[in-house]
Amino acid sequence: MMGKLTPISRCCFLKPRHVICLVMMIALPSFMFGADNDDQESWVLHGVVLDETGAPMTGVSIQVKGTARGATTDLEGKFILEIRGTEEVLRVSFVGYNTQELAPGERREITITLSPNEEDQRLNEVVVVGFGTQKKISVTGAISDVPVKNIQRISTPSLSNALAGSMPGIVTRQSSGEPGYDGAAVFIRGFGTWENRSPLILVDGVERDINNLNTQEIESFSILKDASATAVYGVRGANGVVLITTKRGSLGKPRVIFRTENAALTALRLPEYINGVEYAGLMNEALVNEGREPLYSQQDLQRYADGSDPYLYPNVDWVNTILKENTFQTINNLSVTGGTEMVKYYTNVGYTILNGIYKQEPDNFWNNNAQMKRYNFRSNVDIQLSKNLTIDLGLGGIIQRGNYPGRSAPDIFNSLKVTSPINFPVTNPDGSIAGGQTSYLQNNPYGMVARSGYTTQDRNTLQGTFGSKWDLSEYITEGLSVRGLFSYDHFYHGWNERIKPYAIRQYIGQNEDGEDMYRSPDIREEGAMGYSVGNASNRAYYTEAAVNYNRSFGKNNVTGMVLFNQRDYTDITAGTSLNNLPYRRRGVAARVTYDFSSRYLFEANMGYNGSENFPKGKRYGFFPSVSAGWVISNEPFWTLDAVSNLKIRGSFGQVGNDQIGGRRFLFLTNIIRGGQDYPFGEQQTWLAGYNEDQIGNEDVTWEVATKANLGLDMELWNGKVVLQVDGFRENRDGILLQRGTIPRVAGYYPWVIPYANLGAARNHGVDALLEVRNTTPGGFYYNVRGTFTYAKSIRIKDDLPTYVYPYQNPVGHAIDQPFGLVSLGLFQDADEINSSPRQTFMENVRPGDIKYKDVNGDGVIDVFDRVAIGYPRTPQIIYGANFSVAYKGIELSAFFTGAARASLFIDGASMYPFQMGLGTYNIMRDYYDNRWTPDNPDATYPRVSTMDNPNNNRTSTHFLRDASFIRLKSAEVAYNFEIQGLKRFGLESLRLFINGVNLITWDKIKIIDPESDYGTGGYPLQRNINFGGQFTF
């Protein structure tokens, strides 16, 4: 792995096709005509050029020094050359590699190995920017990328789960592990607004889903963070931009790579509930706490304990009844890549299966476990029609099939929270599903998983991209080119529900004759398996046309770009005529860069966009940005050789956001047909109601983010140490929000109140990257890459009422700041209650109830004592550290991610015992083991109550937890085999690896995953241990 190029840089020196063409044009004729006019003894030298990894290099120029004779290597890296004497010296050169001179002497065959020129590579390294690429050295905006191989080490079907901590500026949180629904929320530098916060995600330049991509298909992954980088996206750029490119072909003979990886998945932190004896005992304790008689006798408790009467005194561990320890995931990819001067191609087919953790009922003819199966097809072809004209065609097909039980994962995990171990047994003596006569809780978890039938979901995506680039250097002026892009994406989602209404019966014991008795009528009689289908579908057209200019005049390097684009997205199966209308956007983007001698860099970007969301005359907005950089290390006075690169850069500009959570045509007033209705007549026929659905605001326009960024890039010892630090500040104005000051008396439905540009927020922070990499002379390679992101968003202005107590106003606090009461601990005795401010949530506060702080000092505890507590759920700090070492063929790596300044409430019915009535809902063991009793006065949690305890069961610091964590996100051991014997079978190389994801977590919450949503957890995240091999042919 010595000094292997990042994929981004690799694409750079494979890309400059003009270099190859140039070489060809010079080399071919000279070779053809060179042999004629010489009569010395000569022979043919057969050679092959390999790169540092031993792979053949195509397009390498071999020149006989001092002559016109020369050759270029073919697809297999081979060349032939006429040699006219043993003194002749060959000059072997290739962009990005050290030029080598050598004398073949009398040899007739030669193998030449080129070593990479790190300095050259660094200078030519490019990064993907908005609507193009730029040399990394000349970038002045804030852009981060990640070596794709780091992402690929995390074996996940959803790319967003591999991003946390991988690059500075990205903030993610994954809250569910359900197959097909396990994607993480992704934000760039936190968020600057509280309505729509999602970044714009572009795959090959087109808005596409991040999570159904196959990580093996990715060539580069970068994020655009500041106004300089995102201004070209104008009204869509304010929340940051994620740019993903897929792999493309490169010159060379076909290279076949087969990669297979197979993982054993283990659910992380399944909820741990108490058992039946504990549960029954706790019900007794609740009654006794309130001065009532216990419900269960010692004999009853004994029956729960010994299982002597499992039907009438059940004691069910529901979690282990329906969930299994381990499940399986496999990801397989077969790719072929290669190319000639005319055609380069990349094709890949991927096959992914992710299984769920539900136990399969053997008697079912259907599969009741959750499963996500996905086929990814991708083909990217670049055709060089002439030396001036290339066209490229990209096709992606993603066929995803999901299988789920008849009930949804939220329903099932909710049933685990709801169903107590003693509610009813799993099944009755007759094998039917057991249930109880309860209005809201007829939810036997086993019935829901195993007997409820199944649902299949098909999600098919077609992504077609057609582009062309025409170099006009020869026709108009040097460095001018035009480019066009058209894409068509289609998404189809169909679902097929086979829901089985299984019988639910309640066993009530045996009669005198010893026959089993059931409550009559049955709670539910068995029904036929239902059948229903549904579908949703959408499509998007995207068109882009650009003029590019790129030229150097001595030390002056100038580039320019003007680009037009428009998008038309239609929800084909929308339920209303309004939503069926296409969603449209159109705009122009432009960029000018100027670079003097690679020292002084200037750049201006702008976007001019229109959004249909706004009224005529207010549709188009102009979003400019400027940036500048100073590469100090390129100054003549710079003599500190150790610092091989030092750049300061800064940017300032504006970008917009026109998204407001799905509402459209904000300026229009609309009356809905079929709104709130009423039945008239003796037969009560519903008469469709017409009512206000939206009230337009004629003045509505986009949010504007004004962003400033100051950055420093530094490299020591030719890239052995890389440091990138960015500080940023963003002011978001005109945040589109619903007015919050309209009283209910005015009679508006809450949802019709118009949006207006009334909010403001400020977001600031720093992000940084530090990378150390080196290969010792002994061939030992090591790399440490650390990233850090801190972003804090503050609500500056909102349309909110006057708060009776200003400290309850969310303005001035972080966006998403939670508010709640401040717990002072638990009351220990009546005296303490009587001498404390009166708590008004409940008439009779008892020892063991939570004691709150009287924040406003008015002598009573009420809702006015709620204050800002804790941090928002999305972490304000995310960091990551990747460690890799390699020696000979062995590679070891470990990747840690962490988050800080985040809070989580572990609340909900499983932590609030008997909130829904005595004997309802499951109870978390953590509560049980740490609850207050007179014998356990120093408890963490309050006493148990017989029903909802409005004093304890409310948002307060008592249930607030620090959600900081550090996770060993992934680790890998890999071995690269160099077995000559295998080459006979065409196997160039073989890499075997074993890696793991979510291996260890250090946090303060323990009972659920620290990335979970509020509450006590849903479908758990998975730990996976993954074995795989990569075969290169």
Partner: protein, 603 residues
């Protein structure tokens, strides 16, 4: 070299075409690419340019008639039945639990009638302000306008009952309007508005509508609302209540006025006008075909739009209501549980009160003259089949309305006796979180023909106004205005006669009559969402809603005649703080948006 140039040029041609194509796509997109607007977009002007659209708008105005059958759900609009001494709802999620434990606050407002009613009021205002322009039959338009006028007044009155003085919104409030000037209007002014609107609406409305229109507002509904509004205004809670004399807004207006006895007179006149008018147009007390008192009273709430109904809210099929009210053994949830206190309030068939009061320990003071016994079991079934043999003596020989209103242990329901004892089919033992907590279930309004396991339900209505209530309103107002004159006896006795109960003893004084009327309302109007408000407007709630409520011992009993079950068992100690809990709190959010909106005393 030449050939290469040739090739270049040849290839350049498609290249140019390609770029032209792309440019073509771009330029072909017309200038109004972003202009596309919804073609089916309707605004207010369009709505009121077509009869059909306007009718749809009026349908959405009706939508805000509170769905009072939602007694327990989160989205409930009726926390009043469970919040009175009539009922305990087992499901702990019902908002009535917050009312009963005193744990409600201005910060939670799940029933949100405030918002729901003002949404309705906004729609009526839009409708009334725009309907004149609709091209349609003028007579029909006039009737629609009358309906909307009534609904606007009705929506205001629902809030008057809860809050007393409220902002009066008689025109649409636009977003540009200054909403900080909104104030709570004095309660008498709001009532005067409601009264005059009812007069206006009555003028525009027909006495009856054809069956296909059932559910639409008719003239007697407007008259009934007027009578109810005046009765509330005349009552001690609003009329000269010293507790509220200090509630004065920033303009110096008292929100609750000085005592004025003429309100009673006006209330009596309005009720009489409603009764007379309705009876002249075919309305009357409902009697079953055989005049049987139990059947008459039961069918009154099942036979939709019978002659006694002045206004009913159509609810479509409301299976949830039926489930909540049915015993678990019938597939129900058993959660609408009447209290022992209500059971005790039913007179004996002979007109005597079985229980005169309670001792300090909660035990009842039995009335020996009544014949009521709290021991033993009935040996013979009721001759008319009101109850089977073997039931507890507590339930024997009671007011026939008891048998139509309450399901008790051993009472017949859908063909079998109900078994509320612990091990019974409908008992607590295996009932999970939903169970009958008092040993009684609400029977009134529950459809005996619905079949829960087979998912068979009928259409439900909620009787908002009925003539029987007007009889009681008239009697009460008249007794207050003029004492127990003949008409007072006449109308109370008419109600009792329909129920199969003996007439009131003659020679009651005004006070005795007042107490009789209050008892009669409690029984006759049970579960109709009157009790919660009646005890408040009479200002007697602090003596009623601050007590322990009771039921039978559902944790005991192995058979029908197991004495262990028939023990009065405390269910809940209810909390009522005076004067705080007489009126609802204005939500914190509303006061924050408009700090000049005065909060009710105690909150």
């Amino acid at each position: 070299m030449k050939t290469e140039n040739m090739i270049n040029r040849l290839v350049a041609v498609p290249g140019v075409l390609l770029c032209l194509l792309l440019a073509g796509i771009v330029s072909s997109c017309s200038k109004d690419f972003l202009e596309k607007q919804p073609d089916e977009n309707l605004d207010i002007q369009q709505i009121f340019s077509e009869r059909q659209f306007a009718e749809g708008f009026l349908s959405s105005v009706y939508h805000n008639l509170p769905p009072m059958l939602d007694v327990s759900r989160w989205e409930q609009r009726n926390p009043f039945t469970g919040g009175s001494d009539e009922m305990e709802i087992t499901w702990t999620g019902a908002y009535s639990h917050l009312l009963n434990s005193g744990a409600w606050s201005p910060a939670d407002y799940y029933p949100d009638l405030w918002g729901f009613m003002y949404e309705g009021i906004r729609k009526t205002n839009i409708f009334i302000e725009n309907v004149d322009g609709v091209p349609m039959d003028e007579a029909e338009k006039r009737h629609w306008k009358g309906e909307a006028t009534f609904l606007r007044a009705f929506y205001h009155f629902q809030l008057v009952k809860m809050y007393g003085a409220i902002p009066l919104v008689d025109r649409t409030i636009n977003l540009a309007d200054d909403m900080s000037v909104i104030r709570r209007q004095p309660v008498d002014e709001v009532v005067e508005f409601i009264v005059s609107e009812c007069d206006k609406a009555a003028d525009m409305l027909n006495w009856t509508v054809p069956a296909i229109q059932h559910g639409r507002i008719t003239r007697p509904a407007a008259l009934a609302l007027k009578s109810q509004a005046l009765l509330y205004m005349a009552s001690p809670l609003f009329n000269g209540n010293p507790d509220y004399s200090g509630l004065v807004d920033d303009g110096g207006r008292r929100l609750f006025p000085e005592y004025d006895p003429s309100w009673w007179q006006r209330a009596a006149e309005a009720a009489k006008a409603c009764i007379d008018g309705a009876e002249q147009h075919g309305y009357g007390l409902y009697y079953a075909a055989d005049n049987d008192p139990v059947r008459s009273y039961q069918e009154l709430f099942i036979v939709r739009n019978n002659k006694e109904v002045l206004l009913a809210r159509n609810n479509g099929v409301h299976s949830h209501f039926e489930r909540c009210a049915n015993p678990t053994g019938f597939g129900g949830f058993s959660i609408y549980c009447p209290t022992q206190e209500l059971v005790d309030a039913y007179e004996m068939a002979n007109g005597e009160q079985p229980i005169l009061g309670y001792n300090a320990d909660g035990s009842p003071i039995l009335n020996p003259a009544s014949g009521y016994r709290e021991t033993g079991y009935v040996e013979e079934a009721h001759p008319k089949g009101y109850y089977p043999e073997g039931i507890h003596n507590m339930y024997a020989d009671r007011d026939p309305r008891f048998y139509a209103s309450i399901s008790y242990n051993g009472s017949m329901w859908k063909g079998r006796p109900i078994q509320f004892w612990f091990t019974g089919i409908d008992g607590r033992q295996r009932a999970g979180s939903d169970y009958c907590i008092t040993g009684y279930l609400m029977r009134k309004m529950v459809n005996p023909t619905s079949n829960i396991p087979q998912n068979q339900f009928g259409l439900n209505t909620w009787v908002t106004f009925r003539l029987g209530e007007q009889y009681l309103n008239y009697a009460e107002a008249l007794n207050e205005a003029a004492g127990p004159v003949a008409d007072v006896y006449h109308y109370i006795n008419a109600i009792r006669a329909r129920a199969g109960m003996p007439a009131l003893p003659t020679n009651l004084n005004q006070e005795q009559m007042r107490e009789r009327i209050q008892r009669e309302r409690r029984i006759e109007l049970a579960f109709e969402a009157h009790r919660y408000f009646d005890v408040r407007r009479w200002k007697i709630a602090s003596g009623i809603d601050n007590k322990e409520i009771h039921g039978m011992d559902i944790q005991a009993g192995t058979h029908l005649q197991d004495d262990a079950f028939y023990n009065r068992t405390p269910i809940e100690k209810r909390v009522f703080v005076s004067p705080k809990h007489y009126l609802w709190p204005i939500q914190v959010g509303e006061i924050e948006k408009n700090p000049m909106l005065l909060q009710n005393p105690g909150w």
